[in-house]
Symmetry: C2
Subunit: 324 residues, 2 copies
């Protein structure tokens, strides 16, 4: 920066101003400085800037996993919006592990991000306290928790379970199963699903729990167990599309006709859901929109917009296709 200042014949502050508040400087000065910047190939040290100023222009994002998952869409949505606004994303994965989440949060807060996005609720109370103590805008996503730390952008997972249950009941299915992960959001879907079935007088659906993140093979194995155990069954709700696609493919492999012999519903409305043969009944959620709405909220918050904690419920929508 000193080199740039010398070459342009100005002081350090002026260089800083050209870079950060170009309007506060004479056009002539601005051009001289910019020319020097280009000539030297000067890349401002944002670390020093963050330390001296107040803003780091970093936003932290914490997700359970990104490989092979719906959360990748949310990261994409967040990143698309934030990069344009001059922010950089610090990414971390918890792997659904409380210990790892805590280490991650510590590392991220150490970078003094201007704001933070995370999926769901903290896995431990200690992490929650750290987040609260950080004193930065926070947006939690993918579920409308009762006591959020700050902002929320999501939907009711229980409602997702409910709409599937209502759909099953309306279609006349009575011998029902549930397959889902052990994470908080899958459990919420299950609870909404079970409660609605109970209210309709349907027998409680036996449940199979699979690891999170769910993989195609888990869905395949789960439906195998269901088909092999000899009990009569009409329909299965799997808590993610990935699981449901595994189930659908297993039925196809065995020659079990869907939905005549077994109806299948998933969750998430991933690209592939619509493309399956037959197309998969699922619950639509836009991971991308969750990300971009979260970005909007955080951008407004770091800009000091006085709004109070927002609670944005994107809702859920049953997409009835041919597997039910």
């Amino acid at each position: 920066m000193e080199d740039v200042a010398r070459l342009a014949g100005v002081s350090l502050v002026t260089v800083s101003r050209v870079l950060n508040t170009p309007d506060a400087v004479t056009p002539a000065t601005r051009q001289a400085v910019m020319a020097a910047v280009r000539r030297i190939g000067y890349v401002p040290n944002l670390t020093a800037g963050a330390l001296a100023g107040s803003r780091s222009r970093i936003i932290a994002a914490i997700v359970p996993t990104i490989a092979n998952s719906i959360f990748a869409d949310t990261i994409q949505g967040l990143s698309d919006r934030l990069e344009g606004a001059g922010y950089t994303i610090l990414l971390g994965q918890t792997g659904y592990d409380a210990q790892r989440e805590k280490a991650l949060v510590t590392a991220m807060l150490g970078r003094r991000p201007d704001a933070l996005m995370l999926v769901g609720a903290p896995l431990s109370a200690a992490t929650g306290r750290m987040l609260t103590a950080a004193g930065i805008p926070i947006v939690q996503t993918w579920e409308m928790m009762r006591r959020p730390i700050d902002h929320v952008v999501g939907f009711s997972n229980a409602a997702a379970g409910r709409v599937v249950a209502e759909h099953f009941v309306a279609r006349g299915y009575r011998r029902i199963r549930f397959v889902g992960g052990a994470d908080a959001r899958s459990k919420a879907r299950r609870e909404g699903f079970e409660a609605t079935l109970a209210a309709a007088g349907v027998a409680p659906p036996p449940a199979i729990t699979v690891p999170s993140p769910g993989m195609v093979a888990h869905g395949r194995d789960a439906v195998s167990r269901i088909l092999d155990d000899g009990q009569p069954v009409d329909a299965v709700f799997l808590s993610t599309d990935v699981l449901a696609i595994g189930a659908l493919l297993e039925c196809q492999r065995r020659g079990v006709t869907v939905p005549q012999r077994l109806a299948i519903a998933g969750f998430g409305d991933q690209d592939l859901a619509r493309e399956m043969v037959p197309p998969l009944t699922t619950v639509r959620i836009s991971g991308l929109e969750i990300g971009s709405r979260a970005a909007d909220l955080l951008l407004a918050a770091v800009a000091g917009k006085p709004s109070g904690a927002q609670r944005i419920d994107l809702g859920v929508q049953l997409i009835a296709r041919a597997t039910t």
Copy 2:
């Protein structure tokens, strides 16, 4: 940090030492300081540490896209390894756009990462120069370019095209098509594919170019065009599994038997490839391994291990399944 020092009755440096080189301090002092840290809930400011020290403990990762893509695996592999070593990941997506890539690289280098990973070659010469000038360890992935900036962890995309071509020829397919994206890696696969077919005396395969990143619908549409144009055709190679799965599903929808009426091969060996009905012939690449190997290389480089630019070719492997 001052509060911690006061509470523990030591100086600032001692606190710093306890946090960074705990072995260089008396156990008693260490415990006193740690107690004070916990009591206050002190979270060290890593930004200040990065500025004062030399290392930022940040590693930048640049990928074309993460949503719905094979690169998500690489990020996962990188992140799993790096987080354990105390590094944080700065993530950015180029969207296959040179302009956006340049802005991204500028922003990332401004954070002074200790090292950087990127997929493929820079989209523009200007970006390449910035990267070189940064003077940090860099690892390029997913392709073995002739003139890499520094380290490379990848495989030959041309070889991927070759093994599929050889497989098609061995199976007796002669009327062949190619479907792929416009990005550099898809093109390399196509070139290897075409060259090998030409060497075997097979007619040059007409090609359909689809957008990058490829989606299931692109594969479906491409195979529709191929089936509808009336020309006889035996086999199609689609440059990613996502495209190939779209093609396979379209065949299923139309009742076109695979591989009797049309053989299909993909690339990437994603989870789903093995699960399809029939299981998809593809080329195996471990995105996860690319990420973890890249992490190993960078970790060694930042630790000052004198090794010279590494060139790790993970190779390609044809996985012949039932679609061919």
